[in-house]
Subunit: 266 residues, 2 copies
DNA sequence: CGCTGACTTGAATCTCTTCAAGACGTGTGG
DNA sequence: CCACACGTCTTGAAGAGATTCAAGTCAGCG
């Protein structure tokens, strides 16, 4: 069990390895027809170097980018240079869907690693509504999911301590990455610096460093930012320590009234 | 210039006074056909007393509620009782749109004042996509706008001081309430307690109290929570003091590259 | 008239920030 | 190959901002 992510080539069909399709699979199963249509919309690909801007606040994007490889950050800047990262954009995530409904994007997106994306001309998404309503619904689901994640992040920033927020984030990332096949049971590649973590969690770099060390000392995680890898030592203990709801982002199952274990609790 | 909000009866048409239609008007102009269709979907109304739950986290809603009167809060609770308010729901805002795409709502909604709402059976919203795509688009716009507001709130919590966050919030509410005719040039009814403000801004009640006093002493606002009314003394000075982007939530105009004055700056 | 909920204020404490300095690894040009 | 620069991580010490605890005011209401 050493492989942690499914390489693209190990699948016979190019469709199955598509992170967008994997992700949509958490919501519904697309027909071959729908998959073909989705692929026909894909007019071109782009690639971004680390730190390149994929979308800029205030500008109106022409394309919707769907990430295939790499990590990006959505963020907003204050006029004095302070930065708040809103969320990561991971493979399978869409950039620019909501920005297309406005004259201007409300936030910027920058590549963290080398990023490749598929681009949809944004007007095509509107016609999609009538041509393939189930696909349109899946995009709406993805948007709603994005909003759920942002809401959880708001709670982290407003009402959790630094350690709680950080642990909660690590568990959220585990779930998100598992959905697109980029994490195994308890670890994943985490290609970020402490500065990124600071701007995400609304903390100073120094405090991120100390909080990280304490989480390590408590035996909850094992993190090597140099090797870009995070290992969660004991998922249940961490989830308990940071008040992580195991049903969070688990839309694929029937709701369990009273929200009980979904992580297992065995 | 003493009246601050348009009473429902002062309009000949019941349509024009509908906050949802006012709000959509910030995005597109609905045809009579579309308005009629919208009204046909409206199957019944409900009313909620202060503190009543309109939606509960973990449960799957049957209806989409569109607020007609009153204020509500979207919020999440931690297991130890801490509460983070995500956003206010104001007249014209929709409750339960995204929750309908999941098996379970990701947050709760509670009435702050007496609230009345129109209810759409949620399955109707799906057929809307094909029957009246422009209306469906308007709902998507409203959802995207909600997300923009949540993103701005995330920045407030993560990277702004208490005073900045609070002032920024007051300006945002001014814009939102103006859109539905519930605020005049520089003041509006604000039916909340300091505790609500604390849970929204991620602060303690005590600190909200002190921050509020300082804003008052600096002559930026005049607030009487007893009389439930906030007056912004000098919009431009406050906007400058809290780094409020005047183009924020101004989707109705063409984007101004480099985002300059929209509040006037005269 | 006394209860209740909301607002207010002081004092002690704690979390997190800021400033400062040093360690380590990696890539670059001499 | 070494020297140097740069980005990132790490740690200590001082200080600011926010919380907690505690007490007291005030208005509305039964």
């Amino acid at each position: 069990m050493n492989q942690e992510q499914v390489s693209e080539k190990s699948f016979p069909s190019a469709f199955e390895s598509d992170p967008l399709i994997k992700k949509f699979g958490g919501f519904l199963t697309l027909t071959d027809d729908e998959i073909a249509y989705l692929n026909s919309l894909r007019k071109n690909q782009s690639s971004f170097e680390p730190n390149a801007e994929i979308q800029s606040e205030g500008e109106s994007p022409q394309h919707i980018h769907i990430l295939r490889h790499g990590w990006a950050v959505r963020y907003k800047l204050l006029s004095d240079g302070r930065r708040q990262i809103l969320n990561f954009a991971l493979p399978g995530d869409c950039i620019g869907i909501t920005a297309n409904l406005f004259q201007a994007a409300d936030h910027s997106v920058a590549a963290l690693t080398t990023v490749t994306s598929d681009n949809f001309p944004s007007k095509n998404l509107l016609s999609l509504c009538q041509a393939h309503p189930r696909v349109a619904l899946a995009f709406n689901w993805a948007t709603a999911r994005e909003q759920t994640i942002l809401a959880a992040h708001t709670v982290r920033l407003g009402r959790r301590s630094a350690a709680e927020a950080m642990g909660h984030l690590f568990l959220e990332l585990l779930k998100r990455l598992q959905l697109v096949g980029l994490a195994n049971k308890h670890s994943y590649e985490l290609p970020i610096t402490q500065e990124i973590l600071a701007d995400l969690l609304g903390l100073s770099i120094v405090h991120v460093n100390r909080t990280l060390r304490r989480l390590r000392q408590r035996g909850l995680i094992e993190l090597d930012l140099k090797n870009r890898r995070l290992i969660i030592k004991d998922i249940h203990r961490l989830a308990k320590a940071v008040d992580f709801d195991p049903t969070y982002l688990g839309q694929e199952r029937k709701p369990v009234k009273g929200k009980k274990q979904l992580l297992g609790e065995s």
